[in-house]
Each structure stands twice: as structure tokens, then as C-alpha cells.
Assembly symmetry: C2
Homo-oligomer: 150 residues x 2
DNA sequence: GTTTATAGACAGAGAGACTGTCTTATGCAA
DNA sequence: TTGCATAAGACAGTCTCTCTGTCTATAAAC
């Protein structure tokens, strides 16, 4: 009988998925142990895109490539958890600004630190140079995928 | 004001996530255009792990790292869409075997072909050697992440 | 000043994961 | 052989996160 999965396991998409899943699990588990028990991976869709001065929901939605309704759901959840504050935009009566609370700043700092720690652990296996090379290659791949297909 | 995101954008996890999301979108969009309109990314959690001779739900669940209830939901959905057939296991009255239908075989073949095509497109940007090096590095990283943390 | 565009809110739906419980079948041991 | 622990899966319910569609209020443009 022929093999069902001729080239599986070595596919770029599967590798990226597996690595992302592992890192996400590791980072959010560690964050929970530091006290951020209510922080969920989906929340990083907000935190990653916040400006220091605060951002509008619609801008966050565009950056995260999701609908403004979905982004509103996430920002509302983060507001209830005291990671962000939502206040009216003084320059536009329709808009609101999502701004980080001190706890939100702490969360971003922790997530950043834990991400770096995870990479440092990987570097002990591969060596820093190789890890850097992979990361540079991934950045190139991401850029290549941004381009429209002909 | 200090920068909120000191090292963002170059993080391994974010790169893997972005690339996986793009590839997944691209591959499943192309698959839909080939007639697999009802195939969803979550279904690959089943298809990726199926044995040629058929697999039990509980085994698929372990391989996909999810509960058997969740896996049963997915295999049931795939059965309704005629990608798999669920039949009793002749060797164990409690168990059922999930086996691919011809349409399921076609779907796996298409997904495999489209994945390779996406990587070939990337190779035109990076060169095959660089892409291979990145893939090898990712495989090493995945292996490193499998090891328990000390 | 009227029309159009924009920001967000509200309601509802659906996918995909989870936990908990239950039934049935297997297999081993008393 | 009976009786119990184990295992496979089914059933019910919940939760998170995303979507579409519609609506209000404000801003901007003509």
C-alpha cells in the first residue's frame, strides 16, 4: 500500500505550526505562573499592536487582520481584566482609545522576557549563530509571502 | 515615552505564527478552488495523522494532542463530508476505525501538492539552498522544544 | 444643511476546542 | 465464571474566539 503522507513532517507550514504551538504554550504557561493567569494567547492580538499613546479599535483590528467586532470583543475582555483601559478619544467623539494599564505594561514586559528566554533555551541547543540565521530566513520568508502572487 | 514593544517583530514565535497563518490561508484557499470547499484547517488535525489502514479516534487524539471528544467531533465532520469513513474495528468491539475515502485521498494529495507549490514559490525568492537550511533549522528547533525543560 | 463615511455597539451564529458523565466492550483475575 | 478495572467512544453542556449583519452617533465633504 502506498504511503498516505509522502513528504509530511518536513513541511514548512507544519514546522512553523508545531514550533509556534510549543512556544505559545510554554510562554503562556510561564506567564500564568507569574500571576498572569487570565492572559490568553488571543490577547496578544491586542497587546502586540498597541501604541504607547493608545490605539483605536479599528486600527488594532486592521493591524491584527480581524474585524473590528472581534477586536472590540478582545479589548473589552482585556479591559475587564485590567490590562487596558478604554476611554474616549478627545479628538474624535466617535472613537475610543485603548491604552495600557500598569498591569498591561507588566504583562507585555513579562511576555517579552519569556519569549526571549525561550529563544535563549533554543540557542543552547542550536547555537546563537544558527538560531539567528533561521530567524533571518524566516523574516525573509514572511516578506516573500506578503507579496501578491502573480 | 519608552517603547512598549522593545524587540517585537523579530521574535521566533511571531515569525512562525505569521508564516503558518499565511501558508494555511493560501493552501486552503487554493484547495477550495480545486473543489475542496468544505475542507477546513482543523481537518488537517485528522488527515495528518491517519494511518493507511485506518486509525482509532483515541490514537488520532493522542497524535494531534487533543481530547478524544474533540477528535470525534472532527472525524464525524469529515465523515459527513465524505473525506473519511468510520467503521467498526473488527478486532475490538469497542473501537471504530477512521479510514480515508477516495475523496479523502484526493484531498491529502491536493494539500500536499499545494504545500509543495507554496514552498517552491518561496524558493524562488530565497533560493532552494537557503530554504532548505531554514527548514532544517526549524526541524532542529522543534526537536529541541520536544525535550523537557530542566 | 444634507449626504456620505467612519467608529463603535448590539445581536446572533458557528467553529472548534474543553470538561464531565455515561454506555458498552474488553480483558484479567479472583 | 463471575466480577471488576480499563478502554473506546457517545452524549450533553460550556467556553473562547471568530464571523456577518444591522444599528447609532459622530465627523467630514459637498
Amino acid at each position: 500500500m502506498t504511503d498516505i503522507h509522502p513528504v509530511d513532517g518536513a513541511r514548512l507550514a507544519q514546522l512553523c505550526r508545531a514550533i509556534y504551538d510549543k512556544l505559545r504554550e510554554e510562554i503562556y504557561l510561564a506567564a500564568a505562573q507569574e500571576g498572569f493567569v487570565d492572559l490568553r494567547p488571543s490577547h496578544s492580538n491586542v497587546l502586540r499592536h498597541l501604541d504607547a499613546a493608545g490605539s483605536r479599535i479599528v486600527d488594532l483590528a486592521v493591524r491584527a487582520d480581524m474585524t473590528k467586532q472581534s477586536m472590540a470583543y478582545l479589548t473589552d475582555a482585556l479591559a475587564k481584566l485590567d490590562y487596558v483601559e478604554i476611554r474616549p478619544d478627545p479628538t474624535d467623539g466617535r472613537a475610543k482609545l485603548v491604552v495600557l494599564t500598569p498591569r498591561g505594561h507588566d504583562a507585555i514586559a513579562a511576555l517579552t522576557r519569556l519569549s526571549l528566554a525561550a529563544e535563549a533555551r533554543i540557542a543552547t541547543h542550536l547555537g546563537q549563530a544558527k538560531l539567528d540565521a533561521v530567524r533571518d530566513g524566516l523574516a525573509e520568508i514572511r516578506a516573500a509571502l506578503e507579496e501578491p502572487r502573480q
